[in-house]
Each structure stands twice: as structure tokens, then as C-alpha cells.
Symmetry: C2
Subunit: 707 residues, 2 copies
């Protein structure tokens, strides 16, 4: 592994002595619950209770203050009213405590007064070189140390291999209970609360470095520093899977932005792009988070995407096949000797072709023997067993008979054990043997797809953003300086300025020249290949066609004169306040396909590149995909593969293949431009015209602004 | 209700006496299980066992043959080897049995010999006026009669209000067990097997007529007669909801069809259209089927889509809000007096705005009081309660305190009770009170959306297909006769012939004339508005642009002459075997928006209309929607609302609003044409050009063929 735990954070999991400040004698108080959990967790270090009342709690002395606590003590958990926290924290620092959990609430979440208290705590922590978790959190637990600083009602989680890091405290109790009910254990749980010091990103490598943790699950409400999150997650995901449930999907969309890219690049697109870059698996529901965690913790990675389905019922077999197909999995084509072996085991009316339907009469022995045969087929990468209660056998018996065979295989096997009460014995057997089991075939099939995705990820190249070297940064610096001096905040750059930036970064543009009069427009057009387009030139009008500011297909002088007056006139009428510089005259590139390439800046993840179907209908069609800038070669190619605009570049019907390489180059260069110059807040080429011949794509129209 | 049970099928649920033929003394045999279930179900009619071995079984005599069975006996269940079934069935007919369930397998599913046996059974049933369920099925059960003809392992389902009709037999055991585990009861269960006589559609009204059944759930592998299914389902869905899980989604796509409509109108699109017409709710997974059934059985319909969320944890509240938004639900804007009342109940740090976050400390009383206040707000249509285990209270206590308030409200309330073991007491209380509860907030939120959809459906108009009267059927009859005489099977109609059909049905087309020579093309163009288009005329070339058979924007005579030679030449070169009649000359309609309207014929549901984004990229963009033909006004409008092509007709950016009414008219008329003439197997207008002014849309290009 190319990462280790941060030692200042690892201390949270390896304290020699813990002081609970705010331990309570009253069994209905959280301070009692926390004291109880600390003791009952079986923690083998020193446990000290602190409360001004003194006395004895759970057979231990209660000290009046942290200063009275004997050695060893390097960690403190504070569960006292917020106003008392800063002084107590300072006392902890003086006593040599290096890790503190502020479980108490009453800080930033309650208003400015609480926020000031929280800030004070952070400063004290800095002063003493102390790390802080919380405030307003549930704390942490580790089932292997073992160690529990939460006040959650018992029982705590069973020891296991799934770690859980959460922005939500309240959900932790539910997660512990789910895990218990679904038969898997937790390794570590971290509730982050207000994150005044330690944030989700800080915890990734420290939790992943735990040898008992096989999978890290995240419940995220956002991330503080998007790029650092990606960087830290990338250290982990090559070794241990991270699955994230990001909530607040709909609330987080940005509004009121001027470019298509800005409008479509909401936080969710940025998260998708970031998770893809970091190899983080995104769960869509809480249920998926833990469905997938179990499979990833317990199953080896499959060699490929070919699945065999073994069932005693046709219907659920079809349901599973539907789900597999929707997830890009394949039904394995069984080898002839596999089919022969299955025929030996099963009655003639059974279907030996995948999905293998053994019929309702299938016995435990038949289930087991078919499992053995299917797992032995080299063309089967993973196996899905479907098991509704068989009419004349016990489901538990079926599970018991199969488990030794599943155990000795190096291929993933998951089970859809259908039902609820009758199947409990089978479920218990599968859980004990670490065979992921689900109540519904769709969920079992999805788990196999996630395993295959994970195997693909492990086989993929490390994401290295392409760095193009033949770019002219000096020119861009000059243009941006000029723009900063001349433009109002938020104003769009004049078209020619933006075009010059593209040129400096090696993005081809068709010749365009600014005409300040109709006569000049005619003069300029004379030197160009015709037809030409006239586009009103105004820094205040980003969507020129909205105001009738664009005319196409102009060839002769009369039309150009009339056109100039018209585009300028239309723009003046529609936007009387806009500054109008004249009209840009541009050779029209009529051939080729139209796509859009843009970059927007996400507040959490920075520049995000968009690619997709261009034109005016970008937002209507929403045929777009995103990647973090600068992009990797795989990401650029992935954007083409995931959009219709990208697929179409290969050619479609009478549309000849277009120059994909040129498009990839523009995506890479535009992403690099935006990454190199953080001043560029939005830049969008729409359309890029991709020619079928000549191996080139042109940026026909570009909009950019700086912040 | 405007439907009643079919009396010949109702007999399956109201027999006076049942004979089990194939009752077994051997407890490991299905014939024993069935005998046991019949007795243990508590059935109050006569139960007779038949087996040549005779003797006594479960304290009853076993008769050697059906002839020996005393009165009353009007129903028989046959569980004997397939070859013996026909003779036994005949004996049943002679004995006066009017309803028979053939549980035995060994029929059509095993090959031609079994199919012949099955056909023989059907003929015997006709001869004696007997109805048949099966063969190869699990039988039926009714928990209220009570009555159970299955051989499934006990315990059977608890009495309840959800009926289940299934094409899959094996899944029935799982469904009974799920229902028990998820705390809801079944009213009736019907396993249909091979459906030699009774099919899914037959059972709809008979099962729905059962007063105990509040919701009908279907597990479908297809339907035999699509239109009859829609008609029967429509009788039911205005009174009781039907939820269907249709499996085989991916396997069922049609391949190798020539039109865009044909390519996109797979069986799934047809099912979507049919379910929409019939008001059947389509579940995507087995889990949704029963999640939704519970909510629909237990909750009143909400007045609107405004939901209040009550939670003790922020995170899951956000998750629920995300799901609601994705399902077109709204977060209710609470009234000021509601906010005041909540402030009285909750601590200052709580959030009284929806989602109402009471904080982790929320007590049972706070949960209950907030529930009362939220349900009293007239701007709240339904309530979602989120309940992870609270740190210092019992979840069961919270549930108990809230239930009386939920009970007395006439608004839907669902609960996300998060966890597994700690929450069991709360879950039991909610189930007993018929409050739908789910483990995850996403599933609870989705259930509320389904309730709102159902309320919208009940408030919608009955679907009455529009029948346009000013159509000229006589002309179409003539054209189709001519086409049948002249065209080879599967051949496309000449463009002019198809255009003539459109004209007869009042669909406007731009003038088009066939030129057999270049000179004739020039002559024809002279009489038209220019520019004109030239399109090669050949019944063998459906996609003319694929072969370079289309030229646009021709104005002068020279270009038309050259163009004629070119389109004809290109076509000859690309398709040497094609019959080429010349080229069609057509005025070009350059303005307006492009959409596609087509009809394909689905083997199960007949003509299906498609509407969406036209042009050549139809299949790439897949911006299309479907409805059964002839379509209703609402369906036509719904197709516009659900597609980007339809939304765009309202105007977009610089695109002026286009004539939506004209498009609706074309959808309605084309659907009616295809419905009126079943000989038309495919007809597609691509593009329809929709003009911004002049209130009209033109069918620019049309392809049609007959079968």
C-alpha cells in the first residue's frame, strides 16, 4: 500500500488512556451511556471518568477535573455544555491530551455564538497540537481494538470488515443496527459532526490503513476540498474499495449561470466526475451502500463479466438476467462439457442453458452439484444462486450443502434467498460463510455487477491527466491581464479575445474578423472563403442567437451589408443597454458534426470539463458528460463513449466518421487551459465542428469569462 | 364498480366440494402437502381425496376414482402424472366438475408430446364446459374463504388485502414468505402455470371483485391478448390499483426492423404504453411491487403532492427529500401557524422548516405532537416520518405514541424506520396499525410518490381514444388493395402511395410528384415553390439518404437535371437489385421544427404510436415516447410533455413556438389510420416539419409497408 495512517489521527484509534469528561451517574443521560459503552466495549487501555460531582461510576473513581486524572491519558471525550468546552479543552491540552472528541452539540449549528465557540476550540487545538473530532458528533468506535466512544444504545456492532465514515451522526445508530440485522460486522465507525478540524478526507487513509477494514463506506453531505478528497481517495481505492452515498443530490444544483456548461455542471456532475477519477463507487441509496459493501468485503474480484445463474424457478432467473443486462454484464455461454454435466445431474425437463433452471423439485444435492459444475466452467466468471423456498426441501439444507463448494471456489458467488421467515436458516448459514445474500434477485445481480466494475477498475491504468506541452501560456497571461483590466466582473470576453486564448492553446478556430461597419464587413468577407456568418460582437450578449444577432450563409455584398445592419439592429433593440462593437465576420464551416466542449468551475472540485451534443439544444437534450480538468486520456475517451454525440463521431447512417482524435485533443487542451488559469471561471466552445476529412475540428464559437 | 367476477372463474373461489386427485399418503410427496394444506387452510366445503390405493388420509377416506366421490363436488385438483391427466379430466367432466386445477407438470414445457396432452385437456374442458387453471402450476389460495390448493410448505399467508396473480409458480412460495416477513397479508393468490385455458387477463376482474382485495399485484412474463388485457385492467384500476412487475425486459426487444419506429418500439415500450392506458402501475423490481402494494392497500389517496418530512436526523431527511424531488413530489411549505406550533414543541436548535429536524434528542411526545401539528397543516398532503433508533428513547415507544394520531388522520403517513434489530417493536406496532414502514427513507419516499400518482390517476379523465371523422377510408382501402396486389411481402410502398394515404386521413404533405426522367423533373419543379428536393423513388430503398438518394436545395434547371442523374445513379450503384421508378420532386419546407411520428405493430398490443425527435438520429437520441393507437387526447399531449422534441414545440431560445395543435392532430390521425387498417404493419413520417406560423405541420417524408 502506498499510504499509511496519519499518526495524529491514528491516535484516535490507539489511545493509551481515555478521559470521559461529562461522565454521568444518571442512567437516562448520554454521559452515562458513553461511560457504559467505553467500559462495555472491552477497551483495554485506561478509562477515566471526569465530573465535578466526583464519586464512583461503574466501579471507577470519578475525578473532579482532567488535571486530577492519573497517567496514562492521551485522549479525551467531551460531553459537557458547549460554553464549558473551550476552557476544558485548554485544560486537556495542558494535561497532554493529543486527541479530543467533542461529542457535545451547541456550536456552529446553533448560530453565530456557537460558531465563535467552535472557532475558539479550533484555535486551542492548534495551540496544543491537538486533533479534534466534532463537535456535535457521535464519536468513533473500533470493534477490533475494541473501543467505543459513542453513547448509542447497545448492542454495538459485531466485529467485521466494513468501515463507516459519516457526516450524519443520527444515522450511525441505524447503520449499526442494519449491519447487525443484515449479518455483517463493522470494523470502524467515525461520526465527523461539524468537522471543525478533522474532515472526511483526513480520515480516508487512516481508516483504510486498519488491517481489519476491507471496504470503506462513506455517508457524505459534501466535501470541503474536492481535489484533496480525490487525491486521498486515489491512494486508497487501488487497495480497498470506497463506496460513497452522497446526499443532497437535488438541492445542490447551481442556478442562474450563463453558459450551457455552467447550467449543466451542477455539484452532482462534479461529484460523478470526481468519484470516477478517484475510483470511488457511488451508491444511489442507503440500501445499495451496504448491499455492495458486503459483496466487496467478502468476494474475490471476478475475472470478467460473464455470469451463470442457477435457479429452481424461471421467473426470478429472468428478473436477474434483466438486471445483469442493464448493468453491462453477460450471461455466460456454458461450455459443452458443462451442459453435459448438468444434464447428468438434472431431470430432462430442466433447462441446462444459462440461466440454469433446475425446476421447483431441485434438491440440496442438485443445487450443490450444479454449483460445482458451473464454478468449474472457465467461461463462468461469477455465479448467482436463486433460492426461493423449495416445496419439499429445507432452504437451510440447500445452503449448508452448497457452502463448502462456494468456499473452495475463487469466483464470486452471491445468493438471492427469496422469502423472509422460511429462509432464515439459509440466511444464517450464508452469512456465517460470508456469502453475500439478498432477498431479491435484482439486488444480488447488481452486487455482481459492482464486483465486476471493481475488477475492471483494478485492471485499469492509473489516472494521469494528459499534459500538452505545445501551449503558449504567455499569450494567455497577457489576454487575461487585459481582460481583468477591461472587463466588468462577470462580463463575457469579446469573442476575439476568447478565440485568441484557444489559438494559444492549440485549439483550431476558423478565421474570424471584427467589422465595425457594414462596409468593413464586406471588405473582410472578400478575403475569406464564403459563405460567411455575421455575429453581433458584444461582451454583454452571451447568447447571440437569442437576440437575432446571428446571420448565416451570406455570400454577396448586398446581403452582407443588409445583414450587418440587421444583426446590430436586432441586438440594439433587444438589449438597449448592451455595448455593441460591431459584428464578427467568420467563414462558415458547414460540414462535419457539431459538439460542445466547455469547462465550468465547481466550488468543491474546481474546473470540470463537459462534452456532448452541441448547438442551442444542449440543455434540452442533456446529452453531456463530465470529467475533472485537466482530463486523462481515458476520461476524454469515456466522455465520448457515454454520449450520443461521442458515439456519433464514429459515423452513423449517411454521416461519415468524424475526427475523434481532434475532438479528444480539444477536450484535453481546453481542460488544461482552464486548469492552468484559475481566473477563467467559464469557457465554452459551442459548437465545435468536427470534420469528416482533413483530421481536424474547429471551435466555431466560444464564450469565456473570468472571475 | 362496473365489473363483476366471471361466474365460471368465481367457482374456483366458491366451490362446494373439492376433490384432490393424486392425494398421497407419503409425507415427502407434493400430493401429501396439498392434502394437508386443503385441510389446514380451514376450508369449510367438502374435501375428498382420490387415489387408486384407497385407505384413509388425514382422517378421511381415500376414494379409488373421482366417480366414487360423493356430493358435493364441483372442483378438482389434479396432481397425477401428465399422461393420466386427460382421462381423469374427462371423468371429472362426467362427474359434474366445472373447475379444475392441473397442478401437475409434464405438458407443453417439456416438448411436443406434452403440448399434445395439454391440447387434449383443453378440448376436454371445452366439451364439458369446464374451466382449467394450469397445467404446471401451484394452484390458488384465498385466505378469507379460507381455501388453499397449493402444496407449498406451511405456514400459508396471513389474511390480508393484497392479491397476487403470477405467471411464475416457484415465486409464489417466496411471495407468501415475503408477505409474512414484511407484515402484510394476502387475500388471494393465483398461480397460472401454462395458461392453457385461464390466462392472466381472465383473472383480473374475478380477483378484483373479491371484497377483501384492495390491491392486485401481477408477476407477468407477457400477456396473451394485449388489448383485452388493457380493457379488463381498465375496468379494475378505477376502483382498485393494479401493480405489475413485467419480467423479461431486455430479452424481449425486437430486432431487424426497417423503420425507426419499428426499431424503438420493442415490447417494453408497448407495455409502458399499455400500462399507462390501463392505469396499471409498473414496478421495476420485486421489492417495489410489494413496497407499493402495502402503501396502496393501507393509505388514503393524498390530496396533492406536498409532503412534510419529520425526522430526528438531518442526513436521512435530505435523502428522502432527494427521492421525493426525483419523483416530482414537493416539500410542503409549512404555514406560519404550523411553524409556531412546532417551535412550541421543539428546542431552539431544532429546524422547524420542512424537513422538520427535531434533533437526535426527540422524545416520543415530541414525535407525536409534531405529527399532529404537521397533519393539521392544510398545505401538507402526506407525511413521511423518519425514525432511526433515538439514543435515549425506545423506538417502540415513539411508534406507539404516534399511532393514534396517524390513525385519526385522513392523509397518508409512511415511516422510514431505520435499523433492523432495535426497531422490531416499532415495526410490529406500525404493521398492526397498517402504517406502511420501510427500512430506508428512499423506499418510504417512493411509496408516497406512488400514492400521489394513484390519486392523480383517479382524478384523471377516462381514456377515450379520439376518433376523427373527416377521413376518407374508401381511398385508403383502394390504395391498400393496390399495394397488396403490386408489392412483394415486406416491400415498402412507393412514396406517393403512402403520401396519398396520409392525405386521405387529413395529414398535410408538401406537394410531391414523381419524375421518371430528368426533363420531367425540371418540368415538375417549374410548377412548384422552390427550392425543391429530389428523392430517388424506389420501393426497395427505405432509407434513401443512406444510398445518396436525396438531394436538397435545388433551384435551377441544370442542378435539377444533374441531381436527377445523381440520385438515380447513386441508388443504382448502391442497390443494383432495387427497382427504381425515378425521383420524387418535392417543395422543400425549410422552416420549422423537425419531429417524427410513426406507428409500429406490436405482436401483443397491436398498433403503437411513437412521437419524438426526428431526423436521422432518432435511434441515437432515443428522445421518443409511445402510446397505444388510436390515442387519447391526454396520451398525445403526454407524449409531447415527456419528450424534448415535444417540449421544444413550445419555443426554446430563438426558436419560436411551433404549432403543437397540428402535431397533436397528426399523432391522432396517424394512430387512427394504423388502427383502422391492420394491414399497415409500419408507417412513419420523418420528418414532420412543424411551422412556427400558419398553424400547420407537414409530413415531409413517409415510409409505410403492409403485411
Amino acid at each position: 500500500m502506498n499510504f499509511t495512517a496519519d499518526p495524529t489521527l491514528d491516535l484516535f484509534f490507539t489511545p493509551k488512556g481515555v478521559a470521559l469528561i461529562g461522565a454521568s451517574h444518571n442512567p437516562t443521560k448520554l454521559g452515562f451511556g458513553l461511560a457504559r459503552n467505553l467500559i462495555q466495549s472491552g477497551y483495554r487501555g485506561a478509562v477515566h471518568f471526569v465530573n465535578p460531582t466526583g464519586g464512583v461510576l461503574l466501579e471507577r473513581p470519578v475525578y473532579a477535573a482532567i488535571n486530577d486524572v492519573p497517567d496514562p491519558v492521551d485522549m479525551a471525550v467531551l460531553l459537557i455544555p458547549a460554553p464549558f468546552v473551550p476552557d476544558t479543552l485548554r485544560a486537556c491540552g495542558q494535561r497532554g491530551v493529543k486527541a479530543a472528541i467533542i461529542a457535545a452539540g451547541g456550536f456552529r449549528e446553533t448560530g453565530p455564538e456557537g460558531a465563535a465557540l467552535e472557532q475558539e476550540c479550533l484555535e486551542i487545538a492548534y495551540e496544543f497540537g491537538m486533533r479534534l473530532i466534532g463537535p456535535n458528533c457521535i464519536g468513533i468506535l473500533d470493534t477490533h481494538i475494541p473501543f467505543d466512544t459513542t453513547f448509542l444504545p447497545p448492542p454495538g456492532p459485531t466485529p467485521g470488515d466494513v468501515a463507516f465514515i459519516s457526516h450524519s451522526g443520527a444515522i450511525c445508530a441505524a447503520v449499526i443496527d442494519w449491519a447487525r440485522g443484515q449479518g455483517f460486522g463493522l470494523s470502524r465507525l467515525v461520526s465527523l459532526g461539524n468537522q471543525t478540524d478533522v474532515q472526511e478526507t483526513d480520515m480516508l487513509t487512516t481508516v483504510a490503513a486498519d488491517p481489519y477494514t476491507k471496504v470503506i463506506t462513506l455517508y457524505l453531505e459534501g466535501v470541503r476540498d474536492g481535489r484533496r478528497f480525490v487525491e486521498q481517495a486515489l491512494k486508497v481505492t487501488r487497495h480497498k474499495p470506497i463506496i460513497a452515498l452522497k446526499v443532497g443530490r437535488f438541492a445542490s444544483g447551481q442556478k442562474a449561470v450563463a453558459s450551457h456548461t455552467g447550467a449543466l455542471a451542477g455539484a452532482e456532475s462534479a461529484f460523478d466526475a470526481a468519484f470516477r477519477r478517484a475510483g470511488v463507487i457511488r451508491a444511489n441509496t442507503s440500501e445499495e451502500l451496504f448491499d455492495w459493501a458486503r459483496a466487496l468485503a467478502w468476494c474475490p474480484p471476478p475475472k470478467g463479466r460473464r455470469v451463470a445463474i442457477l435457479t429452481n424457478a424461471g421467473g426470478p432467473g429472468v428478473t436477474a438476467a434483466d438486471t445483469l443486462e442493464s448493468r453491462n454484464m453477460e450471461l455466460a455461454l456454458l461450455q459443452p462439457k458443462t451442459l453435459d454435466a448438468l444434464r447428468q445431474i438434472l431431470p430432462p425437463a430442466a433447462s441446462v442453458n444459462n440461466p440454469v433452471d433446475m425446476l421447483a423439485s431441485a434438491s440440496p444435492i442438485q443445487y450443490a452439484e450444479c454449483t460445482r459444475v458451473l464454478l468449474a466452467d472457465p467461461d463462468v466468471d461469477s455465479l448467482l444462486i436463486i433460492l426461493p423456498p423449495p416445496p419439499m426441501h429445507s432452504v437451510g439444507g440447500v445452503a449448508r450443502t452448497m457452502i463448502p463448494i462456494i468456499y473452495s471456489a475463487d469466483k464470486p458467488v452471491v445468493a438471492a434467498v427469496m422469502g423472509e421467515r422460511l429462509i432464515q436458516e439459509a440466511v444464517m448459514h450464508f452469512r456465517a460463510a460470508h456469502v453475500p445474500e439478498y432477498r431479491f434477485p435484482e439486488r444480488a445481480a447488481t452486487a455482481l455487477a459492482i464486483l465486476a466494475d471493481r475488477a475492471d477498475y483494478l485492471g485499469s491504468e492509473l489516472p494521469v491527466p494528459v499534459q500538452v506541452t505545445n501551449v503558449d501560456k504567455t499569450t494567455v497571461v497577457r489576454i487575461l491581464k487585459k481582460a481583468a483590466a477591461e472587463l466588468a466582473p462577470g462580463e463575457f470576453m469579446p469573442q476575439r479575445m476568447a478565440t485568441e486564448m484557444l489559438t494559444a492553446y492549440g485549439i483550431p478556430t476558423p478565421p474570424v474578423k471584427l467589422a465595425q461597419s457594414a462596409a468593413e464587413a464586406v471588405e473582410l468577407a472578400r478575403s475569406m472563403e464564403r459563405p460567411v456568418a455575421l455575429k453581433v460582437a458584444s461582451p454583454d450578449i452571451p447568447h447571440k442567437s437569442d437576440v437575432g444577432g446571428v446571420l448565416l450563409n451570406l455570400v454577396n455584398a448586398d446581403d452582407i451589408v443588409a445583414g450587418f445592419e440587421r444583426v446590430v439592429g436586432n441586438a440594439r433593440e433587444a438589449r438597449p443597454a448592451a455595448e455593441i462593437l460591431g459584428a464578427n465576420v467568420q467563414t462558415m464551416i458547414l460540414k462535419g458534426q457539431e459538439v460542445i466542449v466547455g469547462v465550468a468551475r465547481d466550488p468543491q472540485f474546481g474546473p470540470v470539463v463537459m462534452f456532448g451534443s452541441g448547438g442551442v439544444e444542449v440543455e434540452g437534450l442533456q446529452d453531456v458528460d463530465f470529467a475533472l480538468a485537466p482530463v486523462t486520456q481515458q476520461e476524454a475517451e469515456g466522455m465520448l463513449a457515454r454520449t450520443w454525440a461521442g458515439c456519433k463521431l464514429k459515423g452513423f447512417r449517411n454521416l461519415p466518421p468524424a475526427d475523434r482524435t481532434a475532438v479528444l485533443d480539444i477536450i484535453i487542451r481546453l481542460g488544461q487551459l482552464a486548469a492552468d488559469f484559475p481566473q477563467i471561471s467559464e469557457i465554452e466552445i459551442n459548437p465545435v465542428r468536427v470534420l469528416p476529412e482533413g483530421k481536424v475540428a474547429f471551435a466555431v464559437d466560444v464564450r469565456a469569462r473570468i472571475n
